[in-house]
Amino acid sequence: MTTKNFIISGAGGQGVLSLGVALANIFMIADKFVSFCPCYGAEMRGGAVNCEVNVSDNELFILQNSKADFVVAMNQLSFDKFISKVKENGTIIVNSSLAKINKTRDDIKYIFVPLTQEALKLGNIKTANSIALGILSGLLGNILFDNVKKIYKKALKDKTELLQKNLDAYLLGFKYIKEKECV
């Protein structure tokens, strides 16, 4: 891994920024250079929200990129908005519970996963972002589960039930991408 750029996008309340922060933290404790840049301003629960995470073996100079290697789109609005931001040969992970399966580009990889439905099956809709992180991790292949646990523990502190649910969600995403052919 030299430098990888991620855009995480969705609606406020879907854990978009939490996912970005977790991703940056996980790579930070793996001794990578990381940056996390949220969109900011009059954002609110339900409104559009996104962030950019950059990870590199070397010092980062460019913190706002025009395109990303990986885009996570948690709903239709963000899918429409960020599909053009995926680099050639890049990957977009789309929450197909809240976005229509539609492939308009043939130079990128699409991964449609019903994140919201899967999270509901796990018993907590808030864990959809952790499933997405598991998928990212499965695709990248260089995230240590121990580091994920460490960061999740730090973020969720004494909320042990929520912590376990999120770790389950992460593993579900990780296995999903390994085992299933995603439409």
Binding site: V34, G41, F61, Q64, N65
Partner: protein
Amino acid sequence: MSEKQLLKGNIAIAKAALEAGCKCYFGYPITPQSEIGEFLSLEMQKLDLGYVCAESEIGAINMALGATATGTKALVSSSSCAISLMQEALSYAASDELPIVLVNVMRAGPGQGYIYPSQGDYNQATVGGGNGDYHTIVLSPSSVEECALMTYRAFYLSQKYKNPVILLVDGFLGQMAEGVELVKNPYPEIDNSSWILSGANNRDSRKIHSLEPNQDKLNNHIRNLSAKYKEIEKNEVDYEKYLCDDAEIIITAFGSLARAAKEVCNHYRKKGVRIGLFRPKTLWPFPYQELGELSKKIKIFVDIEMNLGQMLKDVKLALSSGAKVSFIGKPVGDWLKLEEMIQGIENIIKENQVASL
């Protein structure tokens, strides 16, 4: 404090302020700097320090005038249009020689503008928006780590010179986070017992005010301030040079945009064009002499800013004869992309017929 943490620029500033011995915070929420107040409102309560969410920005900065007059380290933070409201008090603080540390996390202007990031307050910060012959020291960080280091420096310089210091941060840097290890405050404490209002007890009484009806005394006061500014100009100029030694083109930029400019240098180095970066870390005092020295042998300069050319005037003043400077800029919003900067420089290279392309 040594563990690596993922910190926003705003939080790094707040943490460093506490570490530097800041005892009071006065502010009023405004995007994109609200995290500073939010963080300190919690932490300062725990530490039993003074946190006031003021009724207005004018109230906030005037509270800092009072606090610093008693020798208490105080921090005020705000953003662009609200910093404008504080200019009168800054002029008073400069005349009263009060060590206020003011953080401006810049958003878009003029007027109310919007919350988009910008570097549009260069002129206001470096030239000054208040009345009279005065200067504020202006520090410009380009990374989250520097946000912390320059907060330490801001407190130190404000105490050392009894002068207001502005930490000029762009909204993008205030909001972004990166992994940093916060170091301890490296600066010594400055003895302020000779001037602070601490209760007269057995000494002569003191007063701090800027009103001076006696013409001679007022002239002397301003000349003394001016002598102090000359000292600051002599001692405190700070800058970074990146790949400048063999450069044929020099980019000048400040703040977080200067970091992106390093990648422009790297891009062209790979193509055999020797580009370097000169980044002022103190915007006042500006490194005129050092930049002027560079321009004795390098003749092509490119100034890049997220405004329409404010530092450009200082760059022009610094350059020696024969050197010329082009400008690439955008007023507000998403930072100039790497591709946009490269395209801009491509044209400048063609115009100047730089040999190695």
